[in-house]
Subunit: 228 residues, 2 copies
DNA sequence: GTCTATAGTCGGATAGAC
DNA sequence: GTCTATCCGACTATAGAC
């Protein structure tokens, strides 16, 4: 193995420019999520990244270019986080007719992973807020995120749900129900401030995430339970 | 009855200043909801209200003063919309021990009213977005809204839920479940853009609100159903 | 690639006539 | 109370030295 080949396999030593670029994207995720596009100034962004103001137009063309680059980085991160479960579900759906128990197990795994991502991980806090803001005022970044993550995940989720509810996949009632279940998770972010206050909590610790996940699981089991 | 007394009972002829003030608040609800505090400019606000730029500092002291006045107006509107149900629930809780069926009926009424408010009414669209943005970045307006509406409504909701779940009111598992159920409704706003696309809908029409409400009701009934 | 300096724009708020 | 005109600060983007 040549030194060149070895280098390609390990983390490549980032050039100075590439490093600045990366730090700017990380700063952008935090700052845009916290203050919104207009609320964030290029000075804030550069300061947080430890970079120069002029580095933004240099690397990304404009403030908006940096914003879109941040959206892309969310897609990449969410993709790598969710793709193991999504892949497993897609393979299961393609290969054989899923029975109830197998479908329920996959559904639980999907929701647990998703709730941990949305509620638990401190890094994902910025992602959720960024996405939430973009939904409030959808622009080019919304297209990137919707096509990059949401469509594929929702599709896998809806298919599993259709099996459990014994309804055709295209039934709008299945899709609506999928949204309501996702809402049970997302509320802890979109209304997180109010939720924490009403619960008398200071933050969503790991222990509390477990409490939430247990209830989410119970709710879902009851919602998809066969009618007797 | 004197003319003066008659005037007091009908809508009072608004003075020119009071009228401008009111139009500015209405514009503020729309514009701040759509673009956020920083994204909205005083020029946009004045134009939408058909008022002069200088009217904002004159009537409200500053752009922020107008923002807080808009928050207050949301509290008043939500109060008048929800208070009939909330009052009914509070009276029922105070006067007698509620049985399951009565509690369930009140819960359905509360959720139906709330979902119609959040998803259905076109005016409420601005309110929800305004509140959502304020949760993303809580400031003085959040206090006004939280203390003015959220606490009282959540309290009534949680008490009903505690009865149906046969658990003490203070049980965090009851409060968490309350949040998840609210999430089923709120998701159609906070993630409305994505939800509409995934459902293949253009907007939430009255007929579609009915579909959503039917599913919400079914979900809630299953969630609070007694364990067999 | 990174820096300083600055151009050019737009924002919120004010002054003062009416 | 309402208007026009204007100030002043903050912003994004660029130019050009290093």
């Amino acid at each position: 193995m040549t030194i060149q080949a070895a280098k390609r396999e390990t983390i490549p030593a980032p050039s100075r420019g590439e490093d600045t670029r990366q730090r700017l994207i990380e700063a952008a995720l935090e700052i845009f999520a916290a203050y919104g596009f207009e609320g964030a100034s290029t000075r804030m962004l550069a300061d947080r990244a430890g970079a120069n103001l002029a580095a933004i137009p240099y690397h990304f063309g404009s403030k908006e270019g940096l914003y879109l680059a941040a959206a892309h980085s969310i897609v990449e991160a969410a993709e790598s986080e969710m793709s193991p479960v999504i892949g497993k579900i897609e393979r299961a759906l393609a290969q054989r007719k899923l029975d109830r128990d197998a479908a329920a197990a996959l559904l639980h795994e999907l929701l647990e992973r998703f709730s941990a991502l949305v509620i638990g991980s401190p890094q994902a806090d910025s992602w959720s807020r960024f996405v939430l803001r973009e939904q409030l005022q959808p622009g080019a970044a919304f297209e990137i995120i919707f096509e990059g993550i949401m469509r594929k995940n929702a599709r896998a989720f809806t298919k599993l749900l259709a099996i459990l509810l014994k309804r055709p996949e295209g039934d709008p009632r299945v899709a609506v129900r999928a949204q309501t279940i996702l809402g049970e998770i997302l509320v802890f972010h979109s209304s997180g401030t109010a939720a924490l206050r009403l619960l008398g909590w200071k933050e969503f610790s790991a222990a509390r995430l477990k409490v939430i996940q247990a209830i989410l699981r119970e709710n879902v089991d009851r919602i998809v339970a066969p009618v007797k």
